[in-house]
């Protein structure tokens, strides 16, 4: 049996998956990225291989993606997360023509062509408003875990309007609203709405073409899915594995190479070494 790995080292988390030669996921792992991206990559790889009941030697090919892709020293190839999210999304939802990925500090809108190729993309620039980091600020200010933000926001009855676009100032704005007596769920709903509108703008920039698939860690947030549906006026495909979509796409690229018989980078290096 042939196995391949995809390792997605993002700004906040490292994700990894192992696929078998049929493209079925046989292992997944996730770790927070702390000081060293290279260490996080190594650890998440060891963890995913162990979760798949395999040894590293059994992985035929590894593709690294995410900001830390060049820190994946054991990787055979680097592919950007734009191509990887597109690949992962179209594998699960073949009619995908637009991908929205909300990550830790990057949000990407990707337009996909008829053949599943990336045609265009747009990303947030110089500012983390409209990214997962914005929710991180809310989590910190409200002293709530990230996983509880979405469910609580769905309970809002009178959402407040968040005016700041600065992730740093968002925290003080939240505290200000709470001090005025607004309920946390209403403040949170405002935060979610603020992110959704910024993301929608990014999607329109590449041209919203259905179907749209929502990927990245924030795709697990039900309030965000609901609000994006509302502001984009179209339903969104959401995978149960949305958080791993970059890693899945990377692993699918790895599978292409493994099937084509592409050699390990390490093996090639050994061959050419004097």
């Amino acid at each position: 049996m042939l196995y391949v790995a995809g390792v997605d080292v993002g700004s906040t988390q490292a994700k990894a998956v192992v696929l078998d030669d049929e493209g079925r996921m046989v292992g997944e792992a996730i770790l927070d990225v702390e000081m060293n991206m290279g260490t996080a990559a190594q650890q998440v790889f060891e963890k995913v291989v162990a979760n798949a009941n395999l040894t590293p030697d059994e992985i035929a090919f590894t593709v690294a993606t995410g900001y830390g892709r060049y820190r994946v020293t054991f990787g055979d190839l680097q592919v950007t997360e734009i191509s990887c999210h597109a690949r992962g999304a179209t594998a699960e939802f073949p009619r995908t023509r637009t991908v929205l990925d909300i990550g830790g500090q990057d949000t990407k809108a990707i337009r996909i062509g008829e053949a599943g190729e990336v045609v265009d993309f747009a990303m947030n620039d110089k500012c983390a408003a409209g990214t997962g980091r914005f929710l991180g600020a809310a989590s910190f200010a409200l002293e709530l875990p990230l996983s509880e933000l979405g469910p609580l926001a769905l309970k809002a009855t009178a959402p407040v309007k968040i005016t700041t676009t600065c992730t740093v100032f968002a925290e003080s704005e939240i505290i200000g609203h709470l001090a005025k007596g607004h309920r946390p769920e209403d403040v949170l709903a405002g935060m979610h709405y603020s992110i959704a509108t910024r993301c929608a703008s990014l999607v329109r920039r590449v041209g919203l073409t259905p179907e749209i698939t929502f990927t990245g860690g924030v795709s697990r947030n039900a309030a965000m899915v609901s609000l994006l549906h509302k502001v984009l006026d179209t339903p969104l495909n959401v995978s149960a594995q949305g958080h791993f979509m970059g890693a899945i796409g990377a692993a699918l690229y790895a599978l292409d190479h493994a099937r084509a018989g592409t050699r390990h980078a390490a093996a090639l290096a050994e061959e050419v070494a004097p």
Partner: protein, 434 residues
């Protein structure tokens, strides 16, 4: 009698060395202008009536070039900080701030040149910052600023072309202002305007532009002999500083021959040219070498750029030439037409870009937005939409600044550039499979 044989001819100077020499020579002239009793004019690169100033013998200072040079020499943060400490907002044009920093540094430029104060400054309406910037000089140095109001931008859907009453009115309006400028130059220099001298300068400009157009066209062939956003930036610096001079003509000829030679020998800018690109927007002088390196590592070369297309004075690649037999009228006409088509007019730039896509065989367009200049990036959204929907051409939008390194994020830019090349690769595969 036959001419004596020269046993040891001087080695041929390459264009790069010649260009560097000319830039240094120009800076040295600027440095000593007042000691030599020569008047100094501060001018911008667009809409500057440089031909008139040259005819009066002004030494030319380009504050935009002074500012970009602080970036190239990695000294911009010191000058920007001085302006910001003084109270300028980080959002203000970084060229303006670097220049204010220079004023606060007693005009001591990192090139070693002490920039003399102007006897006159010329601003035009081609950039909405120019006039305010010139007002700062007027107040700081106590010297006059002359504002040239060029009616380039009239309507979104129509521009006056030769043969229309509006065009005649526009050129008369510009000509009247040029006559006012001449009167002011006569007062400052104490010399009378010489139309023959203006005609001579214009003839030199015509020859430089003829060669410049040729140089740009040579890059339409494969492999592109130069990168329009690296080598090209040196070329354009010389084109600006020596515009209208015999030295400028000589340099352009040398450059044309050198580029043609590379083409004849099949010497491309990159070892393996895989993708030909167009760069739209102004450069990030502080990191241009790095940016070009990111593209060239993927075999991508900027065969053309609208920066070189619009070059000095507004628009120098469209075949607009002076008629030296009627020098002043012709200057007014070319200035008006060039301004209509220049960078300030974002309603028509997509047409030029679309034309270049065909001429240069471009595989994609890279747009570079400037954080401290929202004006220059305003048209990019429309422009991008046009080339993407009309031609299905991949485009990339990246953002940094002219000279402020705080707006450069290497990881972000590299990520976008890598992804752009993945798009180009996938497109080539899909097209190849059709």
């Amino acid at each position: 009698m036959a001419q004596a044989h020269v046993a040891n001819p001087a080695p041929t100077v390459d264009a790069r060395t010649a260009g560097q020499r000319l830039v240094n020579q120009w800076l040295a002239h600027v440095h000593t202008a007042h000691e030599r009793g020569q008047p100094v004019a501060y001018i911008f690169v667009m809409g500057n009536a440089v031909e008139i100033l040259r005819s009066f013998g002004f030494e030319l200072v380009f504050p935009e070039i002074n500012s970009l040079q602080t970036g190239v020499r990695k000294m911009a943060p010191d000058f920007l900080a001085k302006a910001e400490d003084y109270g300028f907002s980080p959002d203000v044009c970084s060229y303006v701030k670097a220049d204010v920093g220079l004023m606060l540094s007693d005009m001591q430029h990192p090139s070693g040149t002490r920039i003399p104060k102007p006897d006159i400054a010329i601003a035009s309406s081609l950039c909405n910052v120019y006039i305010k910037w010139a007002e700062i000089w007027e107040r700081h140095f106590g010297t006059p600023a002359f504002v040239l109001d060029i009616p380039g931008k009239r309507f979104a859907t129509w521009r006056p072309l030769p043969g229309t009453a509006q065009y005649d009115a526009d050129t008369r309006w510009v000509e009247g202002q040029l006559r006012d400028l001449i009167a002011q130059c006569e007062r400052i220099t104490g010399t009378k305007f010489d139309p023959d001298r203006l005609a001579e300068v214009e003839s030199n400009v015509n020859e430089m532009i003829r060669l410049w157009v040729e140089i740009l066209q040579l890059n339409q062939r494969r492999p592109a002999p130069y990168n329009s956003m690296l080598d090209g930036l040196t070329y354009i610096g010389v084109l600006n500083a020596w515009r209208g001079t015999p030295e400028g003509v000589e340099y352009m000829r040398l450059l044309r021959d050198e580029v043609a030679g590379k083409l004849a020998r099949g010497e491309g800018r990159v070892a393996e040219e895989r993708f030909r690109l167009i760069f739209s927007g102004t450069p990030c002088y502080v990191n241009m070498r790095r940016l070009v390196e990111l593209f060239e590592s993927h075999g991508g070369v900027f065969a053309a750029s609208d920066y070189l297309t619009y070059a000095a004075g507004g628009l120098d690649s469209s075949g607009l030439f002076y008629d030296p037999s009627r020098p002043l009228e012709s200057l007014a006409e070319v200035t008006t037409l060039a301004s209509q088509l220049g960078l300030s007019n974002h309603f028509f730039s997509h047409q030029t870009l679309a034309q270049q896509v065909k001429e240069y065989g471009a595989d994609g367009i890279v747009y570079h937005g400037i954080k401290s200049c929202r004006t220059v990036a305003t048209s990019m959204a429309d422009n991008r939409e046009y080339v993407t929907s009309r031609y299905g051409l991949p485009t990339l939008y990246i953002e940094s600044d002219l000279i402020d390194p705080r707006y450069w994020s290497d990881a972000q830019i590299k990520n976008r550039v890598d992804a752009f090349f993945e798009v180009l690769e996938q497109r080539a595969l899909v097209k190849g499979g059709d």
